[in-house]
């Protein structure tokens, strides 16, 4: 290990490369194993956010929907920070989606 890496590690600026390797592997294997393509993932992410957004106001920048894997079992993990709970009845589906959720990229019209 070069001295600079050693200093970085000591100061906590850089994690051990084995830890990085493990995290990268877990992420890539979750996708390999589930066989979900990025387009489907994005569509699913948008729809999940849409539904949840009807009930609670979400911090959309902090939210993430990802695949995680452990013991050869893959799980869909949604981490959706709530800004505040909406008052009264949930918003109708169309309104919530048009006002708040912006797709990362335009979905092809089917």
């Amino acid at each position: 290990m070069p001295l600079r890496d050693l200093i970085d590690r000591l100061l906590g600026r850089q994690q051990a490369s084995a830890t990085t390797a493990k995290h990268r592997l877990q992420l890539v294997l979750a996708h390999d194993r589930s066989d979900l393509n990025p387009e489907l993932m994005e569509q699913m992410r948008r729809e999940i956010l849409e539904v949840v957004n009807r009930y609670v106001e979400l911090d959309l920048d902090g939210g993430a929907v990802s695949l995680e894997t452990e013991e050869r079992t893959t799980a869909l993990v949604a981490n959706l920070p709530i800004r505040r709970v909406r008052d009264g009845a949930p918003m109708p589906a169309s309104e919530a989606s048009s006002s708040e959720i912006k797709p990362v990229q335009e979905a092809p019209v089917s």
Partner: protein, 272 residues
């Protein structure tokens, strides 16, 4: 032993160059020297090398091709190892066999071999295509070889997925080319990192060992001549564990090491 109790073990990895053939050769010799009648089958028809690692390349007369075609008997094609007569190799045929070889052909070959041996080790080709599928079709259980590197682990995962759909069982893991110093300083994926990710029981842990290169140069597997080098001991332990014996696995992070590694290890403990 009855013919039906013969074990058929696929040795595979997905990625090339992680040590499949070296493991097959050394494990074969180790098993044979422990009294197990062992056949090794080179199923890597495209890039065969098992003959070379066993030092049998000059003694090949017939191959799996002639056996399948019926132009020779199995006993004529099997090359018996001179120093370790419990071991015999069935060499891979011509690479052109890949054009027509079917999973049923591999099954046929293995069924022919089984009555004469206690265990058949099948050295699979790299990749997950036809050649691998053919080899996998003939095996009941598997050993997946990998190294503590992201690409090797990812490829091993693909192979394990395919073996699961084929109901190959049990699947056990050999972690090859482990560098204890790097593992201790967490600059290499740890043993539990790999076994957690792949969710396989560990059959063996082989440390990086220069003697492996020396032995392949000579065509004499390390397990052949009583070598006490780390890899030789590891391969012999793999053979013993494969037969159900309980042999403790070494802890790479507790190997003898220099001051620098000790300092690095200290850094891992969260004292700040």
């Amino acid at each position: 032993m009855t013919p039906s109790s013969t074990r058929t073990v696929l040795i595979c990895s997905g990625k090339g160059g992680v040590g499949k053939t070296t493991l097959t050769a050394n494990l074969g010799i180790a098993l044979a020297s422990q009294g197990v009648r062992t056949a090794v089958l080179d199923a890597d028809f495209g890039l065969r090398n098992l003959d070379l690692l066993l030092g049998l390349e000059n003694r090949i007369v017939y191959t799996a091709q002639e056996v399948l075609a019926g132009s020779c008997r199995l006993e004529q094609a099997m090359v018996k190892h001179k120093q370790e007569p419990n071991l015999a190799l069935l060499p891979a045929g011509n690479p052109r066999m890949l054009e027509w070889l079917q999973p049923e052909d591999m099954q046929k070959i293995v069924e022919l071999i089984k009555p004469h041996f206690d265990i058949v080790l099948i050295d699979a080709p790299a990749g997950i295509e036809g050649g691998f599928q053919n080899a996998a079709a003939a095996a009941e259980e598997a050993i997946v070889v990998t190294t503590p590197e992201v690409s090797a682990v990812r490829d091993a995962d693909r192979v394990i997925g395919l073996l699961n759909t084929r109901q190959v069982e049990p699947i056990q893991l050999v972690l090859n080319r482990v560098r204890p110093k790097m593992m201790a300083s967490q600059e290499m994926l740890g043993v539990t990192d790999v076994t957690d990710i792949l969710a396989l029981p560990l059959l063996g842990l082989v440390f990086e060992d220069e003697q492996v290169i020396v032995s392949t140069n000579r065509g004499e597997p390390l397990t052949l001549n009583g070598s006490q080098s780390p890899a030789a001991l590891a391969y012999r332990n793999v053979a013993r564990r494969l037969q159900g014996e309980e042999v403790p696995l070494p802890d790479p992070t507790k190997q003898r090491r220099g001051l620098r590694a000790t300092v690095r290890q200290l850094m891992q403990t969260k004292i700040f």
